[in-house]
């Protein structure tokens, strides 16, 4: 089935911005996947120094210039995308299943379950994501990428619980749910095989939008020094380290910062496009 | 030959969609005299509801193509601007819908909704609007209209809400009342009351009524003239008596036969391969 010929893609492509977003996201993901093969200096990603070529401005050889210890910024930015995307996917792979399962149970099983689960969710929702993530990281000994991912996941699952809970509550009085109940279907079946498929459009849209936000939060955390540690290339860390050298060696911060902007923008545009295509509200 | 209040000439409507073009109305012709009660009868997908939308100027999206004429008092209103329509809607042409409670704004009291309607006629204070609304509700035998006006729509029963909506629609003495399945959501007894009310009020103001419905029983009770529509084509036209005594078109006959009868002779059998009713020429009595 040619995906470009479906009714969905037709509707999606009505908005040129959505298509631009899709192009951006496709390019970034491709770059990240093919990073070792398409970057000029993949060895600059590990422990590497070349003081002879340090702080060089953008040129044909070093497209984004070099940093304080002579590493090619372009290569590091592309590898930095790997870190960002990994962060995004891992965080959501943890947050989404937890949030969805809790939302379904809270919405469908009964009053007591609903009260307990939603109170827990409300507590987590009351704390801003960044603050929560910082607190959790603070409890752990040394900051690193792995801890960052756990912390951000903890801040993220409640939003999925809230989304799925709302959809579940509005669907559970629908005819087909009553029909399944009367037929004798188990609660588990109804939650996961009847209700969940109807949550997919909203879920996919939210996941796409969230990929952008998670990357932004992750970059903010690494900007504060809490993300991946040197020499691993992390976009937020690169912006932070280069900030003190503005405006002379502007290329230290600008390109990584711009890279963050592009990927977040891309996911936002795709997410908005999906929102219009599915006609949902997340 | 006196001029008709509403004359629809060769009206065509099509929608452009992903799958192709959908032809909803295919050259329909229909007319109403002043004060006449006309029914447009058809099943779902016949195009009867979009006809009212066109009369009110409510279909203006990019993918809509309209052809033909809708003459209201000899003036073609098919492609009027929204500003022009605002003058007509609520004043000369009003509409009542199937679900009266859904048609009312749930966050405003009834008296505020009357105020909106009254403003169409002339500028008046909220106090005067309240008095005018009270009088109108009194006239239709609604006891304690003050309480009704201070209520929200969800506090009214279906039947009462329908009476309120009908009163609202008639308060500015429109020339044409469009009624889109006005009784389908209601029980039979209340349905009859609503139809009786519409009959009384429109007789008094000589308002013409275009009744859109799929219910032949309602048509028989209320209408003087009937148009039967099938898939965007008018297949039969006649007076009530002619249509019910001597239905001409096979589709009309099928409709009447399908209705279960009080005599209890059982359900009619069906032709498994009915003809394409749209291809059989229109029957005019």
């Amino acid at each position: 089935m040619n995906i470009f010929k479906t009714k969905y893609f037709y509707k999606y492509s009505r908005n040129p911005l959505s298509v631009i977003g899709l192009v951006i996201v496709t390019i970034v993901i491709s770059l990240a996947l093919l990073a070792p093969y398409i970057t000029p200096f993949p060895e600059h990603v590990g422990p590497f120094t070349d003081f002879a070529n340090k702080s060089k401005p953008p040129s044909w050889k070093y497209i984004f210039g070099t940093d304080k210890i002579g590493r090619d910024i372009f290569t590091r930015v592309v590898f930095g995308y790997r870190i960002s995307l990994t962060l995004g996917f891992v965080v959501l792979s943890i947050a989404v299943p937890i949030g969805v399962a809790m939302g379904l149970c809270a919405g469908y099983i009964g009053r007591k379950t609903e009260l307990i689960l939603m109170r827990i969710t409300d507590i987590f929702l009351a704390i801003p994501a960044l603050v929560l993530a910082l607190s959790i990281i603070g409890l752990l000994d040394r900051p690193n990428l792995f801890y960052t991912m756990i912390a951000v996941s903890m801040a993220w699952w409640p939003w999925y619980t809230r989304l799925i809970y709302n959809i579940t509550r509005s669907i559970k009085t629908e005819g087909y749910i009553t029909a399944a109940e009367i037929m004798g279907a188990s609660k588990l079946h109804i939650m996961f095989r009847e209700i969940l498929p109807n949550c997919l459009p909203s879920l996919l849209t939210k996941i796409t939008l969230d990929l952008g936000f998670v990357i932004l939060v992750g970059s903010s955390l690494s900007f504060l020094g809490l993300g991946a540690q040197s020499p691993t290339p992390d976009l937020g860390t690169m912006v932070a380290k280069g900030a003190s050298f503005l405006p002379d060696t502007w290329w230290f911060s600008l390109f990584p910062g711009f890279a963050i902007l592009i990927i977040v923008l891309g996911f936002n545009l795709v997410g908005d496009g999906l929102k219009d295509m599915f006609d949902v509200d997340v | 030959m006196y001029n008709k209040l509403l004359k629809i000439e060769d009206l065509e409507l099509s929608f452009k969609m992903y799958e192709g073009i959908s032809y909803v109305l295919k050259k329909i012709n229909l007319d109403l005299n002043k004060g006449e009660k006309v029914a447009l009868v058809g099943e779902s997908g016949s195009g009867k509801s979009v006809t009212t939308k066109l009369i009110l100027g409510l279909l203006n999206q990019k993918n809509v193509t309209k052809k033909g004429k809708i003459l209201f008092n000899d003036r073609n209103i098919l492609n009027l601007s929204q500003n022009e329509f605002k003058k007509i809607r609520g004043n000369n042409i009003t509409i009542i819908f199937q679900d009266p409670i859904a048609a009312l704004n749930p966050v405003f009291k009834i008296k505020d909704q009357f105020y909106e309607v009254n403003l169409n006629d002339k500028k008046m204070s909220k106090k005067d609007s309240f008095i005018r609304a009270c009088e109108a509700l009194n006239k239709v035998s609604i006891r304690d209209p003050e309480r009704i006006l201070e209520s929200y729509p969800f506090q009214l029963s279906g039947g009462l809400a329908q009476r309120v909506v009908i009163t609202m629609a008639m308060i500015n003495k429109p020339e044409l009342l469009l009624a889109d399945e006005p009784s389908t959501a209601l029980d039979v007894k209340i349905q009859n009351q609503a139809l009786d009310l519409m009959d009384d009020l429109t007789r008094e103001t000589n308002t013409a009524v275009l009744l859109i419905t799929h219910n032949m029983g309602v048509v028989r009770k209320f209408a003087e003239k009937v148009y039967v529509i099938y898939r965007g084509v008018i297949v039969e036209e006649g007076t009530k008596k002619q249509l019910f005594k001597n239905p001409g078109h096979p589709y009309t006959k099928a409709l009447l036969e399908s209705i279960p009868k009080l005599s209890g002779d059982g359900l009619p059998t069906h032709d498994n391969n009915p003809p394409d009713y749209a291809l059989i020429p229109k029957y005019v009595h």
């Binding site: 005819g175 009367i182 037929m183 | 007894k189 032949m216």
Partner: protein, 258 residues
């Protein structure tokens, strides 16, 4: 076959007590087409929901042959009484194919082996006059009449003995309604089913039900053989209800009570 004794049910809505059902007693015999008529608020849907186990009654019992039915019931009890709902638009899960939808009762009640499911679904679709190609379609591509046929096929899948039909044709066009009613009668005969038919449409009742009860504000106004109730209504309420029917023939008007 089904005995309902002294059923009562109250609802609490916004600080008022609504007596949905008061002391309802009735007996439904095997192979009956038993109609429950009433206006909205009469309690007919509440009664159906109690029989189906969606609500729990406050007082009274329901007996199915020799066993009592409670709200929590066994899978076998659920199998015996199936349901066709009023609104065809929401009765099918929009994200499931027709095959998937009809397979559900087959799987829950283990009616056939896993590898026979597709074949059985084809057969069920043929009973309701739909071709096998409908199996791969989604509900949004079906008309109201087709959806209702699928709902009927789904109800038959579990091989029930009783079907509760709640206004199964009210949302359908006149000609489609007639076809679906014909289908329901045919299936009743073929599979020896008992129908409990809930509706506000008296003309339909007159032509398909052999017994009828008229409900009004939670109480039974009148009950008996359909013919008797229509030709000789005892209660004023029933008379008013029959008089209000929107008839289409002069001959019918003559049959209404004076």
């Amino acid at each position: 076959m089904i005995k309902i004794s002294n059923i009562s049910k109250k609802f609490f809505i916004k600080n008022t007590i609504v007596k949905a059902l008061q002391d309802i007693n009735l007996i439904i015999e095997e192979k009956d087409c038993f109609a429950i008529v009433g206006e909205s608020g009469s309690g007919k849907t509440t009664l159906a929901n109690i029989i189906l186990g969606i609500y729990q009654q406050d007082n009274g019992d329901i007996w199915f042959e020799k066993n009592q039915l409670h709200r929590k019931r066994s899978l076998y009890q659920r199998k015996l009484i199936q349901y066709v709902q009023q609104n065809p638009m929401s009765t099918l899960n929009p994200k499931k194919t027709i095959l998937n939808t009809i397979s559900l009762p087959l799987k829950i009640h283990n009616v056939v082996n896993k590898n026979q499911i597709t074949e059985r679904v084809k057969t069920l679709l043929s009973y309701v006059g739909l071709e096998p190609e409908f199996m791969v379609r989604y509900p949004d591509t079906l008309s109201g009449g087709q959806k209702q046929r699928v709902a009927i096929a789904r109800a038959l899948a579990a091989e029930p003995r009783v079907l509760i039909l709640d206004e199964p044709t009210s949302a359908l066009d006149v000609i489609v309604q007639s076809k679906v009613l014909n289908l329901l009668l045919k299936l009743k005969k073929e599979f020896n089913l008992t129908y409990i038919f809930i509706t506000h449409d008296l003309s339909v009742v007159r032509n398909i039900a052999n017994k009828v009860i008229v409900m009004n504000k939670g109480k039974i106004e009148e009950s008996g053989n359909t013919k008797n109730v229509f030709l000789n209504p005892q209660s004023q309420y029933t008379k008013e209800l029959i008089k209000a029917i929107p008839t289409v023939l002069d001959e019918e008007d003559a049959l209404k009570p004076k």
